[in-house]
Symmetry: C3
Subunit: 127 residues, 3 copies
């Protein structure tokens, strides 16, 4: 069910972006237990002027590879699961495509399970 919006600086290859989405998907599978093929993501390349973040926030240095992940999910996960998800995403993206842990920002939006329809006009998680 997650709907993932990935924003990053323009200029990355398709393979680089594919590695990001693959890592996020794997972490969601492992930590949140999302079903196989539950992958719904959009990627947006941003010009520098349209992608604003500071070089340092809370003592964390953000560089040119900064990536912003906004993930809408059902509200069934614990705080511990969320913490584990952040750690796993960062671990996977540091391996491939090789993004520094400092450069991965994650925000979750929680919604009820009745807030999803994956086709046919049916709220699949209710039935």
């Amino acid at each position: 069910m997650p709907l993932v919006r990935i924003d990053l600086r323009r200029g990355k290859s398709a393979a680089y972006k594919k590695a990001i989405s693959a890592g996020v998907y794997q972490a969601l599978r492992e930590i949140f237990g999302v079903p196989e093929n539950d992958r719904f993501m959009v990627v947006t390349d941003r010009a520098e002027e349209d992608f604003l973040y500071e070089q340092s926030y809370l003592g964390i240095a953000h560089g040119a590879d900064f990536v912003m992940l906004q993930i809408t999910v059902s509200d069934t996960r614990s705080v511990e699961q969320k913490q584990a998800l952040y750690a796993r995403i960062v671990e996977l993206l540091s391996k491939n495509p090789g993004i520094r842990p400092q450069d991965v920002m994650i925000n979750l939006i929680d919604v009820g399970k009745e807030n999803w329809s994956f086709g046919n006009g049916i709220a699949q998680y209710l039935v």
Copy 2:
């Protein structure tokens, strides 16, 4: 009040996209009872590499016309209303522009009525 984000594969005509937004608006009017002219939508054309979904999820086959609708609304609707909204959107989009029911994904984000300002710096739904 809904703020609607429409994502779809690049290459559709303006008329095709207009039909999608018109159908979503009509369904919101009929089922959620939103006021006339309460239409705030953004449409984003996506390259194939930037729009990720599986060809099948939960037994639902997704094709090239897959469209992802993320709708932020006030948290005043029942589960039954949400179910009716999904069904009505799919019905309208299957008529015009002719999207298969399987290809319409919908996600709702609920927010409080104090979370909206439509201009002038005022929270109109509170006054």
Copy 3:
């Protein structure tokens, strides 16, 4: 912590867009008390056909400079703070870059403080 999505009609200069983001940041600093350098924003230029709003809603006239702000924030603000935020954003944007108060739409999405990671895979607001 806010994650701000700014949508506006294509054709504005980088300076114009920078003034919007600066005004939103200043208002968030003053009214919501967000920390210094807590600025995470994406700006999307929209073709007219992909940016849909009515010329009038609730008696508020929307023109070509209409800007849509969707701000994801932690759920720790009162209704009064939200109202003050709307008023201050509009005030600042009317000064620079000179947007009419009617043309500023704001929507807030509230999330828990555990829903944020700003790098290193850690939920910074929990620790």
